[in-house]
Symmetry: C2
Subunit: 143 residues, 2 copies
């Protein structure tokens, strides 16, 4: 049971950008801070921008800033957008499901209930909650 | 976000075996019922046997039976054993974690709390709960 790497990276991009307040940040500095390839960060930034969590501007004075307040960036929503595949069992994927007992099987509901509980927790948190110790995080990022 | 294929198959093996009551079942018939390769089922059966959920006997009258009552087979426990990797984020894997903000990051706790909520739901169910409509399941398996 894992989340995608891109989900992990997306949360780091949001946290990094949030520690910088209004200051524009670059893909390069995020990549270097976390020892992740710029190409991965670029893809994640594109998705976060499309989802309107961040704003990117090009050019010499360009860079990345949050598009909304950290209090308005819900962790559950970010993870839902980044994951985009919640086929915990074959039967969750209607297009490819071949399991013969699907019409009578209660397992799908049990797993679905567990997944709802997972997101109910995540939906209680925003990026602001992850920023409570912003100075400490910033110090680690600048090491 | 997915569970491993083997976790899905393990739950099917347990459900199939439970529908047959005390009757011994074979890897071949489970594989044929679910259109899954015998090799996959063999591996899953080995793990379930090691974890003492099923008993296997060899020979002409051999086969697979449940090693305990369905009420004693907890769904959360089965999934924990089959998954065996809960590195939802890089920082969950102490041996390979390179994320610089780990010492101050609250995200790990938030995701950990969500994962606990996921298992709290699963821990409320046993194989017996999935067998409430055993006759209906058996009919679908025998089609």
């Amino acid at each position: 049971m894992r989340l995608k790497k891109y989900t992990d990276y997306a949360l780091r991009v949001l946290m990094y950008t949030a520690t910088k307040n209004e200051e524009k940040v670059s893909i390069k500095e995020i990549a270097e801070t976390f020892f992740i390839s710029s190409e991965h960060i670029r893809k994640v930034v594109h998705q976060l921008s499309k989802a309107e969590y961040i704003e990117t501007t090009r050019g010499r004075n360009g860079g990345i800033v949050l598009a909304k307040s950290p209090t308005d960036i819900n962790i559950g929503s970010v993870i839902r957008i980044m994951e985009n595949d919640f086929y915990l069992l074959e039967c969750f994927d209607d297009g490819h499901n071949q399991c013969v007992i699907t019409p009578a099987c209660h397992l799908r509901h049990v797993i679905g209930e567990a997944m709802n509980a997972f997101f109910q927790v995540l939906d209680q948190y925003t990026l602001a909650d992850l920023m409570e110790n912003k100075e400490e995080l910033r110090a680690l990022m600048n090491q």
